[in-house]
Structure formats: structure tokens, C-alpha cells
Amino acid sequence: MKKVPVISLNNITKNFGSDDLIIKVLHGISLTIFQGDFVAIIGPSGSGKSTLLNIIGLLDDATTGTYFLHDKDVTKLTEDQQAYVRNREIGFVFQSFNLLKRAPVIDNVILPAIYAGVSEKERVQRAKELLTDVGLGEHITKYPNQLSGGQQQRVAIARALMNKPAIILADEPTGNLDTQSGKDIMEIMKQLNKQGNTIVVITHDEHIAKQAQKIIKVQDGRVI
């Protein structure tokens, strides 16, 4: 079966600062992530992996180079356009979960769909399904502070899947979890991957990285 590229970065550089002081963080990164891949991007702190994540996640612009999402050039999008693409194609999972504490679990999962303009009926239905898929069918009306760390991260995963994104982009998803919960989460990731989702995990932990199907090592702003 021919592999379909989902993310194609070509010679991406990223500089910060201006005029007198320019800090070069990424020095010409090229990589391709195909549909159905389970990729771990690993590197020490300061390697530029966070910056790389921001660029892949369309939260930041590259200084030079091109970025293709599916077959569309998303290198130079306006802020609103980036928001649009993020909403529909990138499913974020954060280290610190980043759930809305004042809203029940189901409202958290629904959030991306609200910005996509999905009807209430549809999005509630889908949210319930996703929560059941990650094993939280009984906890739909609970609030985040009533759940364990592992459960909260599962809510975040369900949220990330809401708009059927091109990729799940996880930034140290097990960073704030204990070993067992961390294992559970990685199991879910593997399960999702088996179902056909493309997963990209950013981590500094080799044990986590090893559980992925492909590893990309980053150091000092380069792929090594």
C-alpha cells in the first residue's frame, strides 16, 4: 500500500529575535510523517523539539523552508487560517492536560467541535463515543478535579480526536503521570495508531520513544 505523506517539512529553519540578536533554533529540518505512522521525536532540552512541535502544530511560523500538510502548503498562513487548520487537523495532547477546570468532562471534549461549528447534537454524540472509547463512559459529567491524572489525560486524548484530525500531536503526554498511568496512556496511543490514527509524540524519555514505531532524534536544532 502506498504511503501517504501527512506532514512534510522541508528545510525548516527558525530564528528568534531581531537585528542585533538573532538566535537560530532550527537549522534546516526536513522530515516526512506518513499516514498511520507512530512517530516519537526525541531530544534533550534545548534541542529545539518544542519549537519543532510548535511549527508542526501551526502555532508558530518557520523562518524559511516549507511545510505541507497533506498536499496543502501551510507554510505561510495567516493567524486565522492557522487556527482553522489547527482546529481541524491537529489534535493536541499536552503534558499538563490543559482541561477547563470549570467545565464537566464532556464539555471539555466538545470544545474543538464548537469552534468547528458542529451542531450540538452531533458533537455531544461524538464526545460520548470518544469518552467511551478511552474508557471514561461512566465519567461524562464529572469535573476534571474529580479524576486522576491518567483519566484527565484520557479526556484530553478524546478531545484531541474530536474533529478527526490528521495527526495527534502529543507533547510529553506522560510527563505528569505516574509510571502505571503513563503505561496506560501509551497503550491507548498504540491502540489509536492500530485504528489508523497518525501519532506524533515529542519526548525526552527514551522508554517512551521506544514504544513508537519510528524515532526521529533531534539535537541542537537538527535531525540526527
Binding site: 487556527a83 474543538p112 474533529n163
Partner: protein
């Protein structure tokens, strides 16, 4: 995000911090309350005075001594005399009724009852035709012959009737007015009080009798009643001309009922607007409170904003979210303020005067919405401009 979602989101955010929301709303509540109360006070006053003056009669023209603005009519500057009344009566024959008046405060006595501080009104027999609020409850008003002769007859008001004639009929009895005896020939219907002055504490008598008894040569004022509305102008002009034959322009003022009304209305209107304006200032203070809290709220929710943006919220989505919150806050405060203002106006109407106008409610509502928008836009804009990367890192 549609309206329903925005509403749900905003109300949820406000409910999360009930005390804070309430305290913030307080500024708007007080501002709106004050506006509603003061405006209804002013409007009520205006309506009341308009009623009073219109209720006197229609097509009236007032002739008072002195130039307009100086209406005390003290006897030094008063140059109007009974002859002027006669000249006016002759000159305006067929087009207006002329009713001169003299006033004096006296003590009344009947048997062992006394009434102090009663106003004696000396006037002509056509007075009830000119001032239509003068109606007879018993007996009758004095006649033209009685007027001409200056007969010692009197028409008394309700209060005088109550004070002097407790168990008997007043008609036909003789009362002492300032030392002289008068026969009661009529009792007036109740007229109520005007600003605490009891209109029913009066004795009306022929003008000649009053002048003779109290030694008054001047008259306090003249009421002219034009026979038809179209004649009011002509009557006013002609009255001016007639009086100018003997007096100078500074000695008297001829003013139509309409003019008087419009002067008073505009004074009260200006006063109401000024008071309302001051109340509106407190609304601005309330608005500043809203802006302050919204700024705090935005800072507090930096991570939430970052998250929403990461999930796909556009700048506009964030702007709308926070602007809506500010507007809901203000409008809620406005509604409460309006309800409280209405309640207070209603209570005030029982003890004093007040009249609620629909336009003041709309104005107050509009103001509170405007306050929300004006004072909410800056914080909302700031929120929308947050960088998602920075925001997500915020502790």
C-alpha cells in the same frame, strides 16, 4: 460560536465567581438605579406642574406685575390697579374674560372656632368661568351685582368649612374675616394641595370688598381667559397695548399659559437632565469597575485562552467571548438597576411625585449595554491578541 453558546459560556464564567460578579455589577446597578429614579422624579414633577397649570383652565393668559423673572409682585413695584382691570375688560370685550385678583392672609373666626393663615382671594364674579377648577359643592359663587357693590359675601374652601362648621351647614352663616363679618354663600369643592399649600384654606370674596377692608389699591394679578384658542394671541397683544397706555413695559408681564408651561417645563427638563447626567457619571464609574474585573479575568484565564486558541479559536472568537461576558455583566446590572429603580419610583409616587417613562428605561438599558461594550472591548481585545504559545506556558 453562536449566540446560544456565547451566552452559556459567559453566564457560566460569571456564575463561577458569583460574589465577584455581583460586586462588579453593583456599580452599574447603582448608576442605572439613580438614573431611573431621578428621571422619574423629574418627569413626575413636570407632569404634576403641567397638570396643575393646565387644570386651571384653558386659553389662559396671566398678567402679573414686574418684568418677567421678577414675579414677587411686592407692592413697591406693583403698579397694577383695578382700573387696569376695567380697561382690559372693556378693551377685550367679546374676546376674553378678565379676572383680577388680590390676595391677603387673614384669621377667620366663627363662634368659638378660629382659622389662622387663611388666604383671602378677592376677585370678580366671573372667576369660576376663568379658572375652571373652581367648582361649587354647596351654594353658589357671588353674582355680578354683588361684585359691583362689594357685598360682604364669601365663598369658603373645604378646609375652612371643616374647621369652622363642624356640625352645621355653612351656608347663610356669618363669619368674621379679619375683623369684619361676611355671610357665607357658597362652599368650594376640594382642590387639594399644591406643594404643601392648602388650596382649600381659602375665602373668596368680591374684589371691592377685599380692597376696602384691607386697604389695597393694587391688584396681585390678572387672569385673562380667551374665549377661543385662536384668540389667545390677539388677546395677549391687545392686553399689552391697553396696559402700555398707562404703564411702561417693565411694570407688567403678559404671558400665555403655554408660555408659562413651557418655561417651567424647560427648567424642570434641564434640571432632570442635569440630575440624570450626574447619575450617568456613576454609571461610568461602574463601567470602570467592569473593565477592571475583565482585565483581571483575562489575566487569570491566560492558559484557558491559550488552550482555546490552540484548539482552533480565532482572535475574533476570543474577543467575542470576553466582550460578551462584559456585556452580560453590565446588562444584568442594568436590569437589576432598572427593577430597583422602578420599585423605588413606585414607592416614591405614593409619598411624593414620580412618573416612570418608557424612554428612560430604554435609555438606561441602552446605557448599560453600551457600558459593557465600551469598557469590555479593551480587555477582550487584549485577550484575543495573546500568543497561544506564551499563554500555554503561563503559570
Amino acid at each position: 460560536m453562536n449566540l446560544k453558546e456565547l451566552l452559556r459560556l459567559s453566564i457560566g464564567a460569571l456564575r463561577a465567581n458569583k460574589l465577584r460578579s455581583l460586586l462588579t455589577m453593583l456599580g452599574v446597578i447603582i448608576g442605572v438605579f439613580a438614573v431611573i429614579l431621578l428621571v422619574s422624579l423629574g418627569t413626575g414633577l413636570q407632569a404634576y406642574i403641567t397638570d396643575q397649570i393646565s387644570g386651571l383652565g384653558s386659553n389662559l393668559i396671566f398678567v402679573v406685575p414686574g418684568s418677567s423673572g421678577a414675579r414677587a409682585g411686592g407692592s413697591q413695584t406693583n403698579k397694577l390697579v383695578i382700573n387696569d382691570a376695567r380697561n382690559l375688560s372693556n378693551g377685550l370685550q367679546g374676546i376674553a374674560d378678565v379676572g383680577p385678583i388680590v390676595q391677603q392672609i387673614v384669621t377667620l373666626k366663627y363662634k368659638n372656632h378660629t382659622d389662622k393663615g387663611t388666604t383671602v382671594l378677592g376677585t370678580t364674579s366671573n372667576y369660576p368661568q376663568i379658572i375652571v377648577s373652581v367648582l361649587m359643592e354647596q351654594g353658589r359663587f357671588f353674582t355680578l351685582p354683588q361684585e359691583r357693590l362689594g357685598s360682604h359675601v364669601a365663598v369658603i374652601g373645604q378646609t375652612v368649612n371643616k374647621d369652622l362648621f363642624i356640625h352645621e351647614d355653612a351656608i347663610g352663616k356669618r363669619i368674621t374675616v379679619g375683623g369684619t363679618k361676611y355671610t357665607v354663600i357658597g362652599v368650594l369643592k376640594a382642590r387639594g394641595s399644591v406643594f404643601g399649600i392648602d388650596e382649600d384654606n381659602t375665602v373668596v370674596m368680591p374684589i371691592a370688598a377685599a380692597q376696602r377692608q384691607f386697604g389695597i389699591t393694587n391688584i396681585n394679578a390678572l387672569y385673562l381667559s380667551a374665549k377661543r384658542p385662536e384668540l389667545v394671541r390677539i388677546v395677549k397683544q391687545r392686553a399689552n397695548t391697553i396696559l402700555l397706555k398707562r404703564l411702561t413695559a417693565d411694570d407688567f408681564t403678559v404671558e400665555t399659559q403655554e408660555q408659562t408651561l413651557s418655561t417651567i417645563t424647560s427648567i424642570i427638563g434641564a434640571l432632570t437632565a442635569a440630575l440624570g447626567g450626574i447619575a450617568a457619571i456613576s454609571l461610568i464609574v461602574g463601567g470602570i469597575g467592569v473593565m477592571n474585573i475583565m482585565l483581571v479575568s483575562v489575566t487569570e484565564r491566560t492558559r484557558e485562552i491559550g488552550l482555546r486558541k490552540a484548539l482552533g479559536a480565532k482572535r475574533n472568537d476570543i474577543l467575542k467571548q470576553f466582550l460578551f461576558e462584559a456585556v452580560i455583566l453590565s446588562v444584568a446590572g442594568g436590569i437589576i438597576g432598572i427593577l430597583l429603580g422602578l420599585a423605588a419610583s413606585y414607592i416614591l409616587a405614593k409619598f411624593f411625585i414620580s412618573q416612570v417613562t418608557p424612554w428612560s428605561i430604554f435609555l438606561a438599558f441602552g446605557f448599560s449595554a453600551a457600558v459593557g461594550i465600551i469598557f469590555g472591548i479593551a480587555p477582550a481585545y487584549r485577550a484575543s491578541r495573546l500568543s497561544p504559545i506564551e499563554a500555554l506556558r503561563y503559570e
